[in-house]
Symmetry: C2
Subunit: 516 residues, 2 copies
C-alpha cells in the first residue's frame, strides 16, 4: 500500500546531497525533524526544520547520548497506523506519526583507523541511530527507512512517482537494507571488541562484508557470484586494474592463492604461477627475471592461461617474456612504464597492480551449507632451527636454506603435497591426491618432463609424513638427495633406515602442513 | 575498576534460573526494575521489584512496543559516572544510575521456524531489548550487561567475589558478548528479509554462526579452530555421534565433502569414500553392499584412513566389510543394531548417524584475509536432455543413465577433473591438476592399478572441455568408449573428428563444473 509521508526525521553524519531531499520534501509538504549538525545544515541551506528537543519537549542530555531515545520519537515510528487502539494512544499523548527516517551512521571503521584510543572508539558507537533505524525498518508497513545517501535518488523517484507516497515494495526493500546495515555495524563493533580482547572464536561470530562488485558469474557460468570486502578502506581490495577485462571469480580465487604464497616469501624476490588455484611454479631468485623464468619453467604447459603473481616491480624484460605466452592475469607489485606498454599489447591480459594491497592476517573460513569451520591461518613458517636431521648425512648451510624454501612452499599445495625443488625453484609439484605415493609420481613426472637434469640432487618436501617407504623409494630412484617432511609415522624408523641406505639426507620438522 | 551495582534492570524472555539472580541481588541490596512477564515472575517468586512504568512515570504504550525507550532508562545506563556535567544533569532530572542490565531476546529463528506469517515474524523483532543491550555494552566502563542465562553463574561469582561489585575486565568481556549477540540477532533478521525478498547478494552481507564446539585443532595441530552453525535448531548439525572420539576439523571437512556428493545422488543407493576432502570412490547400486564394495574398490589404497559416507541404513554385512579395513569415520543414514555392534569393536572409529541431517542449500563462501567470494551452490544436475551427442556413434538408454552419473559426479572432484566410470561406479578419479592431460593420466593409472578389466568400454567424464586432443587420445588408448564433457574448445572440431575416427561416443553438455 502506498503511504503518504507527512513527517520525516533526518539525522545524517554524511551531509552530502541532503539538498536533493530538502527540495523534494518541500515540494510534497513533508515536515522535517532534526537536531545537531544536521539541523544546522538544513537551516543553512534555507529550509525550515523543527529541532528535535523542541519536538519532544525534552532537552538532549549527556553530550547528545540521550536525544532520540524518547517515547514521542519511537511511538511516532512504531505505532500501527491501522490499529485503532494505537491511534487512540497516539492522540491521547498528542504524538504525531513519523513516516520517514533518514539516518546514516558515522563509519565505525573510520574511527578505528583514525584513533588509537579505545575510549574514543567506544564513544563513537552510535546508540540512538541504530535504534531509530531498527524501529523504522521493523515497521516498514508504515514507515520508510533510508540509511545510505545512494538511496536518496531512488527515494526521490519513488516520492515523485507516487505523489508524496512510497510503496510497500520500496519500504520493505529499504528495510532489508537497513537491517543489513545494523547487522554489519554491530558485527564491526563485535569484531573490534573480540580483536581487542584477543578472542578468536567467540560464542557468536558474524562475518561481515560490503559488496565490492557483482561478478559476471561464479566458479561456473551457471552460478551467480559477488565479492565482498570487510575493510572500510578497501577500495578494490588494494588491487588496481591497469588493463583488461574485469576479474572473474576464478581470477580472484587464483590471485588470492598467489598472494598467500607471496606473503610467505616476504623480503625475497619471488614469482608464483597459479592455475586452478594451485601453484604450478614458485621461484625465489636474486633477480626478478630469473625468478620469473624459473617459476615458469616448472610447468610451462600448465601455465597456459594461468595467473602470474610477483612481489617485485614488473620490468620490460619480464614483460617481453610474458607476452611470448598465453596468460590470463599478471599481478605485480607495481609496473614500470615500459613493461606496461609491452603488456598492454595483449588485449585480453588482465594487469593488476597490488602495490597498495595490505595483508590483514584474518582467520580463514570454510563454509558448508550455512555452517562454517573457522581456523586461524597457517602462517607458521618453519625455520632452520626447527629442522631435525634424522639421517647420517647432514645438510650444509646452503642446503638448509633451500630446505626451508621447499618445505614452506609445500604448505600451499593441496594435500597430499610433494614438492621437488632445485636452487630455490620448484621443479615438480604433485598435489591434490588422496595417496601420497601418487603425489610423488606426479611431482617426478613433471620434473622429468620439463627439467630432467635438475632432478639429480634436488630436494623433496612432503606436507605430511610418509606412511610407507614407497613414495620415498620413488623419489630416491628419481635422483632426489634431500627429503624434508614432518615425521611422525609409525614407520619412521624403517623410513630413516631406507634413507640412510640410499645415502640421502632427511630432515623432520614436526610441523604438518595439510591444506585442502 | 570495580563498580558497585545499585540498580538492575531485568527483562528476560527465558525466565529459567532468574531465582539465582534474585537471591544474590537481595543479598547485596541491588534494586530491581522490570516489567511485563519478568515483573510478574519476580513477584511470584516473592521478591520486590519496581515496575518499569512506575519507574519512568510513563505508562507503556502500543502493546509494549514503547516501554524502555525512555530517557530515564537510557540516561540511567549511558551517563558517564565520572563526568560532573553528566552527574549534574542526572541529578537535575532525578534520574538514578542503572548499573546492571539483564536482557535476553526471544529467539528470532524460533519464531521463523514456528510461524509462517511474515507479519507475526516481523512483530517479534525486538527493538527495546537490543537498544538497552547496546547502550549498556557501550558504557561497559560503568555498566554490566548480561545477555545469556549461561552467564548468570559467572555474574554471581563476580558479585560474590567483589562484594556487590563487578570488575572492568568482566564488564568488558560481557560487553563483547553483548555486541556479538546484537550483531548475530540483526544478521538473522537481515538474512530473513533477504531470503524473503530473494536477495542473494545484498549490499552488506553478514554471515552468522553460533559456536557448536571448539575443535582440538584446525587443519594442522598448530592451528586453532572452532565450528559454527547458523541454525537455531542445529543440535550438532543433525549429526549424532554414536561412537569414537570427537570429530576433528579434517573429519568435518571430509564429512561435508561426502554429504555434498550424497545430496546430488538423492533417491539412489549411494556410497562415497573421501580422503583429503576429495572423493576416491563413488558408487550407486541397487543394493547397499554392492554400492559400498564398488565405491571402496575404486581406490582401496587411498581409502586407508578415509571417511565413508552412505545415504542408506548401515547393515551387518557392510559393517563387516568396513571392519576389515582402517577407516576414520563412518557416516550413514542410520545404523541397524547389529551393524553398530560390529563397528563399535573398532575403538577409534568415529560413527556418525546423519539421519537427522537436513540440507539447507545455503550459498557458498570462500574467504581470503577478511574478504570473501560468495556464490550460489553448483546444484545444477545435468539431465539426459542436456546431453548433445556430437559423434556418429550414439549412446543407448542405459549408457545415457551412466553418462549422467559420470558427469554429475565429476563436479565434486577438484579441477581439472577426469572421472572414469563403469556401471554407475567410479573406477578412476584424476583431479586437482593444473593440466587436464595429467588428470587423464591419473584416472587411467588408478583404473589400471585396481580394476584394469573395467576400463574397457568405460565412460570418461571431464569437468571442462579438452583444450587439446592429447587427453582424449590417452583415454581412447586406455579403452574408454564414451566421453562426456562440456565442449566449447576452439579445437572441438578436431576433437570430434578424433572421437569419430576412434569409434567412440562423445557427448557435450554445455555445462562446466569447475571446482577448486
Amino acid at each position: 500500500m502506498n503511504l503518504k509521508i507527512k513527517n520525516a526525521l533526518v539525522s545524517v553524519s554524511d551531509k552530502e546531497n541532503i539538498i536533493s531531499l530538502l527540495k523534494i520534501f518541500k515540494k510534497h509538504n513533508i515536515k522535517i525533524i532534526s537536531s545537531g549538525g544536521t539541523y544546522r545544515a538544513i537551516k543553512e541551506l534555507g529550509y525550515s526544520c523543527t529541532e528535535l528537543s523542541k519536538y519532544t519537549g525534552f532537552e538532549e542530555m549527556l553530550d547528545g547520548r540521550v536525544k532520540t531515545l524518547h517515547p514521542k520519537i519511537h511511538a511516532g515510528i512504531l505505532h500501527d497506523r491501522k490499529n485503532k487502539y494505537h491511534k487512540n494512544q497516539m492522540s491521547k499523548h498528542n504524538f504525531p506519526p513519523i513516516d520517514l527516517i533518514v539516518v546514516n551512521f558515522y563509519p565505525f571503521q573510520k574511527v578505528v583507523l583514525k584513533s588509537r584510543s579505545p575510549k574514543n572508539i567506544v564513544e563513537n558507537i552510535d546508540i540512538g541511530g541504530p535504534t531509530m533505524v531498527r524501529a523504522a525498518a521493523k515497521n516498514f508497513k508504515n514507515v520508510t527507512i533510508i540509511t545510505n545517501k545512494d538511496d536518496y535518488r531512488p527515494l526521490i523517484k519513488e516520492i515523485e512517482k507516487n505523489k508524496g507516497k512510497t510503496s510497500i515494495k520500496f519500504r520493505e526493500f529499504m528495510s532489508s537494507k537497513a537491517f543489513g546495515l545494523t547487522a554489519y555495524y554491530d558485527a564491526m563493533i563485535a569484531n573490534w571488541f573480540n580483536s581487542k580482547l584477543n578472542i578468536q572464536f567467540p560464542e557468536r561470530k558474524t562475518i561481515f562484508g560490503r559488496r565490492l562488485s557483482n561478478l559476471r558469474y561464479g566458479e561456473n557460468p551457471h552460478q551467480e557470484s559477488s565479492i565482498y570486502v570487510s575493510d572500510y578502506n578497501d577500495k578494490n581490495l588494494g588491487f588496481k586494474k591497469l588493463h583488461g577485462k574485469e576479474l572473474s571469480y576464478n581470477n580472484y580465487n587464483d590471485l588470492f592463492a598467489g598472494l598467500k604464497i607471496l606473503q610467505s616469501l616476504k623480503g625475497k624476490i619471488a614469482t608464483v604461477v597459479i592455475k586452478h588455484a594451485n601453484p604450478c611454479g614458485i621461484s625465489v631468485k636474486d633477480k626478478p627475471l630469473n625468478s620469473f623464468k624459473s617459476a615458469y619453467a616448472c610447468d610451462p604447459l600448465s601455465a597456459y592461461g594461468g595467473v602470474i603473481a610477483c612481489n617485485y616491480k614488473m620490468n620490460k624484460k619480464i614483460a617481453s617474456e610474458i607476452t611470448k605466452n598465453f596468460l590470463e592475469v599478471i599481478v605485480s607489485n607495481g609496473f614500470d612504464k615500459e613493461s606496461l606498454k609491452i603488456l598492454k599489447r595483449k588485449k585480453n591480459l588482465r594487469i593488476i597492480d597490488t602495490s597498495n594491497f595490505k595483508y590483514k592476517n584474518q582467520i580463514s573460513i570454510k563454509s558448508f551449507d550455512g555452517s562454517f569451520l573457522v581456523q586461524n591461518k597457517n602462517s607458521r613458517i618453519v625455520k632452520r632451527k626447527d629442522f631435525k636431521c634424522v639421517t647420517k648425512l647432514k645438510p650444509n648451510k646452503r642446503e638448509l636454506a633451500e630446505i626451508e624454501f621447499a618445505f614452506n612452499v609445500s604448505k600451499y599445495v593441496k594435500s597430499n603435497a610433494i614438492v621437488l625443488c632445485n636452487n630455490f625453484s620448484t621443479i615438480g609439484i604433485g598435489g591434490g591426491q588422496p595417496s601420497r605415493v601418487d603425489s610423488c609420481k606426479i611431482a617426478i613426472q613433471k620434473a622429468k618432463k620439463f627439467q630432467p637434469k635438475k632432478i639429480i640432487n634436488s630436494i623433496a618436501a612432503s606436507d605430511a609424513f610418509f606412511p610407507f617407504a614407497d613414495g620415498l623409494k620413488l623419489l630416491v630412484k628419481a635422483g632426489i638427495k634431500i627429503v624434508v617432511q614432518p615425521g611422525g609415522s609409525i614407520r619412521d624408523k624403517e623410513i630413516i633406515r631406507f634413507a640412510d641406505k640410499a645415502k640421502i639426507k632427511m630432515l623432520f620438522t614436526s610441523i604438518r602442513h595439510f591444506y585442502h
